[in-house]
């Protein structure tokens, strides 16, 4: 038995209460290859604040206890509909067991690098499952839909998945608006969704029981960065630079609000267009504000350009960034100017455990590129979907039930160990990365108790 102390923070009514719970961490066997459906790991302590929220970041926490708290008990995703009562699929009449995929794939789509990685990870999981016999001898088949960049153009994808493709579940998407549209449509159409790439935390704040999410969202990234920047690096006058799209806006909000609540309201926030290459105007504003640190919520290429132009302007402040900046491209573009950059990373690609290494080597051999976080979480997410279908059979309602069995439980896959809360959102600690001597150096998030002392949580 692996065991360790888990410190859980809980705050309400202005008072922080530290609850020390002894948790037995019995993680699931790794599922680098498709294997029989796993049973979710033993239940973790339940006194976990929603989204693993730091005490200091609890809304209104200093002033009053809310009349109602959501997402903190097992009634969060209750379902009393009729999906389970529908007839099961007729296996004999099916040639394939279809699973839908929605992701940005067109090269003109800003998000396509993430979508393509997500597709490759999904394909590997499907192929692994088929190599192990598929579903009672019938192969799983991925029904791929391109998430078009035009807003709302992909909204009919889930309708087609249900009525034309006859999918049993779906995986997607990257863009949070598209994911929200699928989520609301599935409340009517009742198709289980595995979301492995969206950062938007509101996707799991709807009480719709049909969606599971395993990618570290903006809350997890924002809390981790705020703790690191203010409690561990002790900065006080931070500026924010964000890409002006839904990814940048939603992500920035969490960091900004957390910083404000702990008494370090960012001095200035500026944005740039998704296709910007010249950041001089934004950097002049930031420089004039007298910041002692900069947080970038954007992608790697532009983070690289920002760093290069920033250092050229003799701005030597430390720079921090969200997980989409954590790609080799940032180093390639910024060169020495990237030195010291600290980023949230959704995975630690230097892990040496056999699950990750086997996946990495197989992925590299097949797609001739290193797997990124989007590939890893898609592989894990598709494995979770397939395992749920194996366990529940060809009934969308019972497949949803099988996914919901992961509430307040762990799952270990190639991306690491996830912990799913009552909203079926992964709230496990994130990884940090720093560019040091021209190399990416990774370490696990070490959150403090917001008074300077380290705490361990959910690890």
């Amino acid at each position: 038995m692996k065991g360790r102390n888990v410190v859980v923070l809980k705050i309400r009514n202005g008072a922080a209460v530290l609850i020390v719970a002894l948790a037995c961490l019995q993680t699931l066997p790794a599922r680098a290859q498709s294997a029989p459906a796993p049973t979710p790991a033993k239940q973790a302590p339940t006194a976990i604040p929603y989204a693993n929220m730091p005490p200091a970041a609890v809304p209104f926490g200093r002033y009053r206890k809310p009349y109602q708290d959501w997402f903190v008990d097992s009634s969060t995703l209750e379902y009393y509909g009729a999906a389970r009562e529908r007839p099961d699929g007729d296996l004999a009449a099916l040639k394939t067991i279809n699973i839908g995929f929605l992701g940005p794939l067109d090269a003109n789509n800003y998000d396509s690098p993430y979508g393509i990685a997500m597709l490759h990870g999904s394909q590997m999981a499907v192929d692994d499952a088929n190599a192990h016999g598929g579903y009672h001898g019938k192969p799983f088949a991925l029904k791929v839909h391109d998430d078009l960049p035009l807003w709302g153009a992909s909204s009919m994808a889930i309708v087609n998945m249900v009525y034309d493709d006859h999918d049993w579940a779906m995986l997607g998407s990257v863009d949070s608006a598209s994911t929200h549209i699928e989520l609301r449509a599935t409340l009517k159409l009742e198709l289980p969704i595995m979301d492995t790439a969206t950062n938007d935390p509101t996707v799991t704040q709807t009480r719709i029981p049909w969606l599971m999410h395993n990618f570290p969202d903006d809350r997890q990234q924002g809390y981790a960065l705020a703790d690191y920047v203010f409690n561990q690096r002790h900065l006080k006058r931070v500026g924010i630079l964000q890409v002006n799209n839904r990814y940048g806006r939603a992500g920035k909000d969490v960091f900004f609000e957390t910083a404000r609540r702990i008494g370090h309201q960012p001095l200035v926030e500026v944005w740039y267009a998704p296709d910007a290459t010249d950041f001089s105007a934004q950097l002049e504003t930031l420089k004039a504000s007298g910041i002692d640190g900069l947080v970038i919520w954007g992608d790697a290429a532009q983070a690289g350009l920002v760093l290069k132009q920033m250092r050229a302007m003799a701005m030597q402040q430390p720079v921090f960034a969200s997980s989409r900046a954590c790609y080799p491209e940032v180093l390639k573009i910024a060169g020495p100017a990237a030195e010291g950059l600290v980023m949230v990373s959704a995975i630690d690609p230097t892990r040496m455990d056999p699950e990750w290494q086997q996946f990495r080597q197989r992925f590299l051999a097949r797609f001739h590129t290193e797997p990124d976080a989007y590939a890893a979480y898609a592989y894990d997410g598709m494995n979770l979907l397939i395992a749920s279908i194996q366990k529940a059979g060809l009934n969308r309602g019972t497949i949803m039930d099988a996914l919901r069995q992961y509430e307040m439980k762990r799952y270990t896959g190639v991306s690491g160990t996830a912990f799913f809360d009552y909203t079926l959102n992964n709230i496990a600690p994130v990884t940090f990365a720093k560019i040091q001597n021209g190399q990416f150096v990774y370490w696990p998030e070490q959150r403090t108790d917001w008074h300077g002392k380290p705490v361990s949580f959910l690890r």
Partner: protein, 383 residues
């Protein structure tokens, strides 16, 4: 002397009024009427299987939107199931509105908007018209205008000129463009916006007003009657009799009468679930379509009546929650087709209810009159 006589006369009137009110309330309490006569339309009697997403009454005709097309019932009989083969824009029908002047039927589907007129369908999609998006959740007729709630904003179609307007985050105070429901009032139109609260549009002065969750947080309700209870609003219903709009959310029920907000959760009311798919209100009735039954709320008496099938017996369960929180449960021999309620509409005093497993038609009967036919095992339940 005259003053004393007048005072005595006033006291007598007060006594008479008091006794009358007491008598009527006792009578009402002793002889309540409930929806105990239910007729269900399911796959067992030729109705399309699965969810009924919406129901709209048009005189003696009833339109029901399902995952297998649009069903027309006339005088309680299924007349026709319209599908995409008949020309319907999409298979899953989310909303229906009837233009009382022209008789045209407007149908919102997951596949676009349809107009059924003169036995023919005419379709409007994102590619062929000004429709903002093909996922259409709501339709409503206001004079010559048709209002359409889509996943990418609100459309207004001028049915006289055929011109389209679109309202979204670029020209109106939408926090999110995802629109779910519409309710037409004489002066304003109300919109249920997923993630964006309630929006009203002033017809005379052409301005928008948002009503959003004042605490701004998805994970909590700060004060009980703080304002709108949550920004994820699934439907809205304007009640012209009480000048109040009601908003259903997946986080409880809200009402606003222009001065005060009132919010309702399972922990402080007779609501069976905080997950509410739709709300409709008229007179002193507020109907909440929840995932654990259909609730009728009377704000004047602060009494809730919830109808649902008993999970164990399959018979009807009627749960009455009094203002003091005490509960009483009675049984009925017939009940709704399913406890998961998506929508309802009124036909006189009757109601038509869309459920997750068929359409239900309910008729109200005095409880005393049908006590022998229905269960008379009424019992009081503790809080």
């Amino acid at each position: 002397m005259e003053r004393a006589s007048a005072a005595s006369h006033g006291r007598k009137i007060l006594w008479i009024v008091g006794i009358f009110l007491l008598a009527t309330s006792v009578a009402a309490a002793q002889d309540p009427s409930f929806y105990t006569k239910w007729t269900n339309y399911t796959s067992a009697n030729g109705f399309p299987p699965g969810e009924v997403y919406c129901v709209t009454v048009d005189g003696n005709r009833v339109w029901a939107g399902t995952g297998h097309g649009l069903v027309l019932l006339e005088n309680g009989r299924i007349q026709k199931v319209f599908t995409t083969k008949d020309g319907l824009a999409g298979r899953a029908v989310m909303s229906v509105a009837v233009d009382r002047l022209t008789g045209d039927v407007w149908i919102g589907t997951f596949g676009g908007l349809s107009r059924y007129s003169g036995g023919q369908f005419k379709n409007y999609t994102n590619l062929t018209s000004g429709l903002a998006n093909d996922l259409v959740y709501g339709v409503a007729v206001q004079g010559q205008y048709l209002w359409v709630a889509t996943t990418a904003g609100v459309n207004r179609l001028d049915t006289h000129t055929g011109s389209w307007s679109i309202f979204n985050e670029s020209n109106a105070p939408f926090e999110e463009p995802w629109t779910y429901g519409i309710s037409v009032g004489a002066e304003k139109i109300y919109f249920a916006v997923w993630g964006g609260g309630v929006l009203s549009y002033d017809l005379a002065n052409h301005y928008w007003k948002p009503y959003t969750d004042p605490d701004g947080e998805m994970e909590l309700v700060l004060y009980r009657n703080q304002g709108l209870i949550h920004n994820i609003v699934s439907s809205v219903s304007w009640n012209p009799d009480t000048k109040t709009f009601w908003a259903s959310t997946y986080f409880g029920l809200s009402s606003y009468d222009g001065r005060n907000w009132h919010n309702y959760l399972t922990k402080d009311s007779g609501l069976p679930s905080n997950f509410i798919n739709a709300v409709k209100s008229r007179g002193n009735q507020v109907w909440a379509c929840t995932q654990k039954g259909l609730s009728e709320f009377n704000p004047t008496t602060n009494t809730w009546i919830t109808y649902r099938p008993d999970a164990k017996t399959g018979r009807g369960e009627i749960l009455i929650t009094r203002p003091d929180g005490s509960k009483r449960q009675i049984a009925s021999s017939t009940t709704l087709a399913h406890n998961y309620i998506l929508n309802l509409d009124f036909q006189g005093d009757d109601i038509w209810v869309a459920t997750a497993n068929g359409l239900s038609h309910g008729a109200r009967q005095p409880y005393k009159q049908q006590a022998s036919g229905a269960q008379s095992t009424a019992r009081s339940l503790g809080r």
